[in-house]
């Protein structure tokens, strides 16, 4: 039974199945060329587009969900980050200033979420819902509700440049994931997060800094959303305050759940969430490649999501186990 406990197994299996389908159904799916000093191909697009939004957001969301919370504000914080950076570079700020300010502000707003939840004791869904509305408003305020295009080589390089042949977002997201993984699993903080999600009262009574844990995870989620917003703005060389990041928090939640982190909290898998995000992005591109009409595209998408979630269901796995070995020892 132990193999079913590996959270990575099911999203990986679904991802492989989807890739096999693509290998058969769309010739050239795995073709990768070397073009203008970088890799070029569908799989690179999947990783690049996936890294920019769902993977980054999912990293932050994983830790939040592990504490038993949820962060609905990440889509709006993306818009805030993009708006700040665009307005800053247009006002003549350096890349470091613009990026630093955007990330600082988004982490700060994430921290506000954390305070509302850990100190004021608001429900996470309400506190972050307030931030979702307020963040969108802030982005609109910063930009006068208009799209802000910019011409700034440094800022556009973030999403359009390449490092070692790979689009920048890919090494960036892997770096963030690695850092977070090492920091959390290398220290007791990973365990603190899981303990907080498992039973907050017991953890607090045992002397764990549960308040600090919550502040940390929401601030980190804000930071990830800030990075994602920077990359999205960089990608189109403009900040789109009204629509950037709209409903992307749901993509992040899906990636996390598909990756084996339960919404009830208490355990997490960063690698699982990355695979979940890749699965989602592969699915999106598969539907483009097969030219599935946009009106019906949500149906196959929903089906794959349902299957992955069913695979994760403990109840169903129990049934499956019984069916495989009718007379358990």
């Amino acid at each position: 039974m132990n193999r079913f406990r590996t959270p990575l197994l099911w999203p990986l299996a679904a991802l492989v199945a989807l890739l096999v389908f693509n290998a058969l159904a769309s010739p050239g799916f795995f073709d990768v060329e070397w073009k203008d000093g970088r890799l070029y191909g569908t799989v690179v697009d999947i990783c690049n587009q996936g890294a920019r939004v769902p993977m980054l957001l999912a990293l932050g969301m994983t830790l939040v969900i592990a504490t038993g919370g949820v962060d609905l504000s990440v889509g709006s914080l993306m818009a805030v980050s993009g708006a700040v950076a665009a307005v800053q570079v247009n006002a003549g700020a350096s890349l470091g200033q613009a990026v630093g300010l955007a990330l600082l502000l988004c982490s700060g707003l994430g921290l506000v979420n954390g305070v509302l939840i850990a100190k004021v004791r608001l429900q996470p869904i309400i506190a972050t819902l307030v931030m979702m509305v307020a963040g969108r408003g802030l982005a609109m305020l910063l930009t006068g509700s208009q799209m802000v295009p910019f011409k700034h080589e440094g800022l556009t390089f973030l999403a359009n440049g390449a490092v070692g042949g790979l689009p920048v977002p890919i090494p960036l997201v892997l770096g963030v994931a690695l850092l977070a993984g090492v920091a959390l699993r290398g220290s007791a903080w990973g365990l603190f997060i899981e303990a907080t999600g498992d039973n907050e009262t017991a953890s607090r009574l045992a002397g764990l800094p549960t308040g600090g844990v919550r502040l940390l995870v929401y601030a980190f989620s804000g930071l990830c959303a800030g990075m994602s917003g920077l990359l999205e703005a960089s990608n189109i060389a403009a900040a789109d305050p009204a629509r950037m990041g709209d409903t992307r928090e749901l993509d992040a939640i899906f990636a996390v759940v598909a990756g084996g982190t339960a919404l009830t909290g208490g355990r997490f898998s960063l690698a699982g969430s990355l695979v979940g995000a890749l699965l989602l992005q592969t699915l999106t591109l598969t539907l483009y490649n097969q030219n599935v009409p946009p009106a019906v595209a949500p149906v196959p998408k929903a089906l794959v999501i349902l299957v992955v979630c069913l695979l994760h269901s403990p109840k169903l796995r129990e049934q499956w186990g019984r069916w495989r070995s009718p007379s358990p020892a």
Binding site: K35, S145, D240, Y288
Partner: protein, 324 residues
């Protein structure tokens, strides 16, 4: 504690939205004071330059005609639009201009206006009501005609032979449905133009770029033209084409709809080939229609705003006139 904080927040939010629906025009004057005509205008919001331009056009036309305009920005809330209309009726305005956020849910308030004998002119979007006597007329662009105009121009530019990627707007929205319908109707008479793929970019620049990036890998050199349902997605597609080493505007024909200022810039730069405007300057037509109704003249239920196409031959000359 939890509950109180939430209630306080909710209360604050409600107060904000109430404040938002107060008409922001000069107050206390009362309707018709000093024989001046008073018209109310309920706008959806100001979330994009197109809508801002529409608002400006209506304000400017009111000032030009010496009409006092009571303006309400609903910040994207239908309820705020309805309460603004109710306050216009209470103030006894002579006419109401409404840019409805959605199609449904207007019967009751339109009935109130009708009972108060206040004509309502709809601008840019229609409403779904069983009784069309509830409003005077709808002034709007014909999205189907825009799609057809873009399609015909693309067919001519490509010499009747092309592989086209269509970037659709938000799935299910009226402009996306109609711009697709109009374009595909135009394509029906050009058998050598193939629509290789038709995917939604949700009217967003980022999604337009993502979709184009993906489809370039699938169709590659077969892509010789792009038709986008709005300028934003066209700009996204242009960025993806350039990243893939193609030359948008030269070896890939790009046509879009909306006629925003940045699209004119892109045409002047030679990256976008043409844009069909979706003219937001509805002010003059709206007030002309109101005057006619108030004089008791009958109006058709739909007045179509004439949209023009701009390409490299006339975009540069028109650019200075684009305020949005």
């Amino acid at each position: 504690m939890n509950r109180q904080t939430f209630l306080r927040l909710a209360g604050g939010a409600a107060a904000c939205s109430l404040a938002a629906c107060q008409p922001s025009g000069p107050s206390g004057g009362g309707a018709g004071s000093g024989g001046k005509r008073v018209v109310g205008f309920s706008q959806i919001g100001a979330d994009n330059p197109w809508r801002t331009a529409e608002t400006e056009s209506i304000k400017a036309e009111a000032a030009k005609r010496g009409i006092e305009l009571k303006f309400s920005d609903a910040q994207g809330q239908q309820e705020a639009q309805i309460s603004a209309m109710r306050s216009f009726i209470a103030q006894g305005v002579q006419g109401i201009i409404l840019a409805p956020k959605v199609e449904t849910g207007w019967e009751a308030i339109l009935k109130e206006a009708k009972d108060a004998k206040i004509p309502v002119v709809l601008v840019d979007r229609g409403v779904a009501v069983a009784d069309d006597s509830l409003y005077a007329t709808l002034i709007a662009s014909d999205f189907v005609a825009e799609g057809t105009m873009a399609g015909e121009w693309l067919a001519k530019k490509c010499g009747g032979k092309a592989g086209v990627i269509q970037l659709e707007g938000t799935t299910g929205s009226a402009p996306a449905n109609d711009r697709k319908k109009g374009f595909e109707a135009a394509m029906a008479s050009h058998p050598e133009i193939k629509v290789l793929a038709s995917q939604t970019g949700d009217f967003k620049r980022s999604d337009g770029k993502n979709v184009m990036e993906a489809l370039l890998k699938v169709h590659g050199a077969a892509i010789t033209a792009v038709y986008a349902h709005n300028d934003d997605m066209a700009i996204g597609a242009i960025q993806a084409l350039e990243a893939a080493g193609r030359r948008p505007g030269k070896d890939v024909v790009v046509v879009s709809i909306d006629g925003m200022g940045f699209a004119f810039d892109a045409i002047v730069e030679g990256k976008l080939n043409a844009t069909v405007e979706c003219n937001p300057l509805l002010g003059e037509m709206a007030f002309a229609a109101l005057e006619q109704v108030l004089k008791g003249e009958a109006l058709p239920k739909l007045l179509v705003q004439k949209d023009r196409l701009f390409d490299e031959s006339n975009a540069a000359a028109e650019r200075p006139n684009r305020k949005y």
